[in-house]
Symmetry: C2
Subunit: 202 residues, 2 copies
Amino acid sequence: MLTLYDYLDSGNGYKCRLILALLNTPYTRVELDLDKGETRTPQFLARNPNGRIPALELEDGTVLPESNAILYYLADGTAYLPTERLARAQVMQWLFFEQYSHEPYVATPRWIIRHLGRDHPRMTEMPERLEKGRAAFAVMEQHLQRHDYFVGQRYSIADIALYAYTHRAHEGDHDLSPWPALRAWLDRVATQPGHIKMLPGD
Amino acid sequence: MLTLYDYLDSGNGYKCRLILALLNTPYTRVELDLDKGETRTPQFLARNPNGRIPALELEDGTVLPESNAILYYLADGTAYLPTERLARAQVMQWLFFEQYSHEPYVATPRWIIRHLGRDHPRMTEMPERLEKGRAAFAVMEQHLQRHDYFVGQRYSIADIALYAYTHRAHEGDHDLSPWPALRAWLDRVATQPGHIKMLPGD
């Protein structure tokens, strides 16, 4: 049985829960509270020296960190990762876009507000992060004006990776109203067969 | 013929030049000077809406951005990307580690010093960036104490991606002397058959 080291409020954790649900793969979920430092214990650091969730423990004890690498591993050989060389590389393109141009400017503002609070000094980072987040949304919008999904006109892990924090962007003070194609894509993802929501209260 | 939109002083560009050299693949290189805004012209934005180099233009006109996606595309089907499922996912793990935990704390300090200058206001970011860079080097060192390369005991695009900025880290005020296994790995990469240096003056 697979074990997912996870934290419910993490969009990166949700990426893994979502692909596992879509694939109907059984797994054990271990909740580690980031705010309480539970990913920095000696026990967890022995499993994942990077001290981050999510991390997927395979049946042989191998621990695979990095949410997008976990998506890649779980989707390999399924309909959620294309087999054609260029299409696979384009999935990678969007996964790296998500990590580099999207995550720090969409996920981090949400983290600052929800986990540090609006009176935290890091709120001074918000204007620049929100501006760069809007640039990332503009790139996504431009693509989605001409495509239903990010790669090959079908739902793939590129969509899953980008959906995770985009659908919570409002919790980081982002306003998605300027991006109609992006909002239509959020609806397409949320109505996929087998889709699950991120948090119990959603 | 492939076309690489590139900038000589970019480690991300160098990743692509290095794999192309190792594979002995002919290509046309187009230099775009980031400092002069040459990646933000309407002509280039029409090719890559993200406005960043490197970007690889294929023979059919498709443009693939994101250095690590370009590495993946070029290495697919070669000895530089394993075929086994878990090993491929572990290559992804290190590519995402590079983008998320390494690039902003190793590449960006170098960028600030070399392209903005030591009197630029962004120098105030340096202490935090250098600290987080040291945390990334510690993760790399721990792995390299027990392995010659990042995945499967052989040179792969995981090594290429991590080498690009690590071997210039000193130009961003990083000191690699605390990491002997990491320095030995830098030497192993630099002595691979077909290796090329990043800059003409190196």
